[in-house]
Assembly symmetry: C2
Homo-oligomer: 225 residues x 2
DNA sequence: GGCAGAATATGATATATGTCATATAAATGA
DNA sequence: TCATTTATATGACATATATCATATTCTGCC
């Protein structure tokens, strides 16, 4: 069992507020898990009874809409926590988490987290601020979905992906989403997404290298959103 | 200055967790305010530095989208709190609050609330659960906006309005939104909203009495969403 | 009480986007 | 390595929705 004390990603999450004793307790009760690309971490409606801490890799949080399509609500990466809302609401999770790459995650049972929650104000404040950030972002996205065109949302999403996950040495976006997943983030049909990417490519906004994407004209992309 | 102890709406909000002493302190520092229909309580980007408790009336929380249209993110009614997210994030509010009817609201400064927050675990837990509920709802709406048709969203919204705000003796929806506001809730153009209401009317789903709306065939409306 | 401005209503039309079909390219696995 | 599936791409077309124009009705107000 690895020690949470020495885990570097802890510094990026709410868990940074925990003291030495708490970290030792945390290390004792947590379980680690390797998650292969495409594997489900938890599914909408499930009782998770704890939170996951993402040590490595990226996953998508999706929500099934009544028409049968999945919608990607959020991407969660190294250093972030999963399942906070559900734990606090004391409800089943409302989103499904699926690994986009091979991942390392640690699971901490609810009882433990709630203990920290009660005793460590800074920790609970951190968790709350996280959730508040999610709420603000979600409200923003709701309005985006309602008011912006697909083209605008695509431009915005491409910029977001580069901002958040960076680019490789060849300037391609580091995070590798399928066209289908990209479509499901911006809330459109896969074909529409592919078509718009082609358009963006033709007009020099981006360059498509197979499945990889390079943002070529960031100022213009920014002006679109 | 009215006493918070005797305020009935307190029972419906997170404030129900406060004890007698805390309520007395609350009553001492709060300020009451009458808000006329159409008046702004606070505006996107403003520093509110406290929370509002809605004693009577309903307001809309809107967000301005880059295309210049307002989108109604949420309706807030008697017994609910306003500005919680902003207070916890320690950021300006990200939404604008406008009264839909004459309202009575009380304002409590941040310093006071944060005091309760630190000392009263049940209170902070209540606030968090509220925010978590908002987040869940917001995620759901985001997916709705992205995946459902305007028709489906209209049906869903009408049902929501009746569920949440009830109906008058003549069966008309109690809450009175303009067509423009209804459109801004479901995320569509005013004309489209009006047109669909006409369609719903013709097909017997609803009945339009001037500006008032009666839900006639709730099972069918439910099947649509 | 009547007038100005707003809200509601409806038609005509444009446009964005979804859907279905099909082709090609890439990935997977026996 | 080849075959089978899956992902990407593009065309043709259907349709939902926005936009613009114009009536009509309602509402506040002097």
């Amino acid at each position: 069992m690895s020690k949470c004390e020495q885990c570097i990603v802890r510094e990026f999450s709410s868990l940074k507020a925990l003291n030495k004793d708490e970290l030792i307790k945390l290390a004792e009760c947590k379980t680690s898990r390797l998650v292969k690309k495409g594997e489900i971490i938890f599914e909408e409606g499930e009782n998770v009874n704890g939170i996951f801490c993402v040590k490595d890799g990226v996953c998508k949080l999706t929500k099934l809409s009544p028409n049968g399509k999945d919608h990607i609500v959020k991407l969660v990466t190294k250093g972030e926590l999963l399942g906070q809302r559900s734990m606090i609401s004391d409800e089943p999770v409302n989103l499904t988490a699926v690994a986009l790459e091979d991942m390392q995650v640690c699971f901490v049972p609810k009882s433990e987290i709630m203990g920290f929650f009660d005793k460590n104000n800074q920790f609970s404040m951190n968790v709350m601020k996280n959730i508040c950030g999610d709420l603000k972002e979600s409200d923003k996205q709701m309005v985006n979905m309602a008011q912006k065109t697909v083209k605008e949302r695509l431009a915005e999403t491409l910029l977001y992906l580069q901002d958040t996950f960076g680019k490789n040495e060849d300037d391609t976006l580091k995070i590798q989403l399928t066209r289908d997943e990209l479509a499901s983030m911006i809330g459109t049909a896969t074909e529409s997404c592919i078509r718009l990417l082609s358009d963006f490519n033709k007009s020099g906004l981006i360059e498509i290298k197979g499945k990889k994407i390079i943002l070529k004209d960031i100022p213009k992309l920014k002006k679109m959103v």
